[in-house]
């Protein structure tokens, strides 16, 4: 059974994804570190990923494209920040233009992956992903407001929370 725990923190634009695998940390690490493995899970269903560049070192670059049903290609990249096999990987994940250069018009997210043994046979992988620009909402939450305004915002946030 593959279960995933997901926590969404809207004000901080953060998504935490956690799952326990029946495998060693080294094996889970390889899902990220081996480009052939990575391309088997990265792309969503009708958009398989092809990893063309995979330099998993701090400052390194991972380049990939996802190919759609009509042959349409969507390019993306990682900028690798921290690498600590088999326990920790931090990178920025962004979109690229047709030439493969980072597309700064689209938001970049920062992903932090931690991998740790639960026991001899199981490993927990936790991914914390922080999305761009949403910091503005945090400001909204954090700012001092007079009571009436605060109540109004709390109502909004309640609405947001209930989805």
């Amino acid at each position: 059974m593959s279960t995933v725990d997901i926590t969404k923190d809207l004000p901080n634009a953060t998504l935490v994804v956690s799952s326990v695998f029946s495998a060693s940390p080294e094996r889970v690490w390889r899902l990220w570190a081996d480009p052939r493995q990575l391309e088997r899970w990265w792309g969503p269903d009708p958009y398989p990923a092809t990893v063309v560049d995979h330099d998993l070192r701090p400052g390194g670059h991972v380049a990939y494209h996802m190919t759609g049903p009509e042959g349409d290609q969507h390019k993306g990249y990682w900028r690798v920040i921290e690498v600590e096999p088999p326990r920790r990987l931090v990178f920025e994940d962004g979109f690229a233009d047709d030439s493969g250069a980072p597309n700064d018009d689209l938001p970049v997210s920062r992903a932090e992956v931690t991998i740790e043994a639960v026991d001899d046979t199981r490993t927990r992988m936790t991914l914390t992903s922080v999305y761009d620009t949403t910091a503005a909402l945090e400001v909204v939450l954090g700012m001092g407001m007079e009571e009436g305004i605060r109540t109004a915002f709390e109502q909004i946030l309640g609405l947001l929370a209930e989805g």
Binding site: V4, I6, L10, S19, F21, M66
Partner: protein, 144 residues
């Protein structure tokens, strides 16, 4: 999702590509956060919750020109955070709570994306458990 329409105009195209990209290319989410990044605009948003202030009434407390306030309202409107309606000679501004929900859509989307990814990771590992051998050097079939 259909794959039929061949000549796609950019907006439709954006909706059809990978969900993730579609939502992110939708400038609305960005516009929402951009609009919220400014203190005056947040204040306008809060004051327009009541839904019956005209632009000039909204503008009154701010030490800036009416035109500047109008600009802020326009930014909020483009982000889908306020609506304007004409009431006699007044242009009334109302905060649109739905607009703020857009911010949530982005995270919801990523949730779905990562659920899929983690499920595929599990699938990959489970696949390996079936045969006695390992796939240390992937002789398995190429992806996709």
């Amino acid at each position: 999702m259909t794959v039929l329409q061949r000549p796609l105009t950019p907006p439709i195209y954006n909706r059809m590509v990978v969900d993730m990209e579609a939502i992110l290319t939708d400038k609305r989410a960005d516009a929402v956060f951009g609009a919220l990044a400014d203190a005056t605009r947040r204040d306008i948003l809060a004051r327009a919750m009541g839904g019956d202030l005209g632009i000039s009434e909204l503008a009154a407390p701010y030490p800036m020109s009416f035109a500047a306030v109008q600009k802020h309202v326009a930014v909020l409107e483009r982000a889908g955070l306020v609506r304007k309606r004409v009431d006699g000679r007044r242009r009334v501004v109302t905060t649109d709570i739905e607009g703020l929900r857009n911010a949530r859509v982005v995270l919801d989307h990523y949730e779905q994306l990562w659920r899929g990814r983690v499920a595929r990771m599990h699938g990959l590992l489970a696949e390996e458990d079936l045969p006695a051998g390992h796939l240390d050097d992937p002789a398995d079939d190429p992806a996709g």
